[in-house]
Symmetry: C2
Subunit: 214 residues, 2 copies
């Protein structure tokens, strides 16, 4: 058991074969849930549809989750973890702190640009975001569990920049991060403009140094 | 005819009674379209449903518009005009230019906060925005016709601020405006945080003066 890679979620320790099979089922369910919601939208995504596509019984899903919102939430968390692992060490501990605040913020936003353009991510994320716009409860739940944790990383990095004097002490980091995060989010969500590295770099420069002359 | 208030859309000049009746029908159709999309969402809104709710024949709608997207587009344009008229002179010519850039931007964003909280505006706007997230063609059309014209007003005001030296000359106004417009849009759309006058005032101060110390 010690050499066995542990299953991520169940807290009890099943027989290795069961664990491996569970992991395979979970992965198939996540993939099916994300693909389905991207294709048919949130309202038409059902537990039955996810089960059929994943090749598992409905009861397998109900054993682990209580609703399609729960399945999707975990599928997105898993997708985020995969993206973090793929990005390697740079992101593992949050936002890099090289001492150059502008460079650190630009690096993370460039990685976000890449993520937003990843087809595996785009369709399911849009389907979920669209539903969150008209379903306040779902919107708030997904923001709390999926979006806010990544925004906290910006808060931490901006707080550390306040300690080194790179950000004014009276600035509220939770609002400050929105100056570069929200424009990118809106361009992506609402097609209000093209997104590129040059664009996000510009946002960081404007946010840090202001629009008014110094 | 000279004293008659002209109908807003038809370019030919019908008999006054016909014009008045047309205006009444248009108003009823706009109201029905906005109410319906807010209640059932964009996909389930139909020309038939709008006609039934407005108490007009389907053919009356098809005489003026070719699709539900067209009807909704004009209904939102009309809603925006009503809001502008209700706000009075302050907004009539775009964004005020009192010479105090921060005050002007804060005033317009406070008016936007009021608009976003108006129940007449909220449900239909959310329904349309949600559909735009997953339907790129519709999203782009509505941005071009509904959102971008109001963003151009910010571009104009920021350009005039560049002439008076209140904004750095190298700043791109179309990107700059996103530093205070997009955070408000994202909080409203995605429920990422509360919106208030104090919040939008803070966005303007941060955007103009930057997060870094001077």
């Amino acid at each position: 058991m010690a050499a066995q890679k542990p299953a991520p979620a169940p807290s009890d320790k099943p027989h290795p074969d069961v664990s491996r099979r569970s992991q395979r089922s979970r992965r198939a369910i996540y993939d099916a849930a994300l693909a389905l919601v991207g294709e048919v939208g949130y309202p038409k995504t059902t537990i039955e549809g996810i089960a059929a596509r994943a090749g598992v019984g409905k009861q397998t899903i109900y054993r682990w989750w209580t609703s399609k919102a729960d399945v999707l939430l975990e599928a997105f968390l898993d997708l985020g973890e995969q993206a973090t692992q793929a990005a390697g060490e740079a992101h593992a501990g949050g936002i890099p702190d090289t001492g150059d605040l502008a460079a650190d913020l630009k690096a993370v936003l460039r990685a976000t640009v890449d993520e937003l353009r990843d087809p595996k991510f785009e369709a399911p994320s849009r389907a979920l975001a669209a539903e969150g716009v008209v379903d306040e409860k779902l919107g708030r739940e997904f923001v709390t569990k999926l979006l806010e944790p990544s925004l906290r990383l910006y808060v931490d990095r901006l707080r550390s920049a306040q300690e080194t004097g790179d950000i004014r002490p009276e600035v509220d980091p939770r609002i400050a991060l929105e100056l570069f995060v929200s424009p990118l989010a809106q361009r992506w969500l609402q097609y209000t403009g093209p997104i590129s590295y040059e664009y996000t770099d510009t946002l960081v420069d404007y946010a840090l140094h202001g629009l008014a002359p110094r």
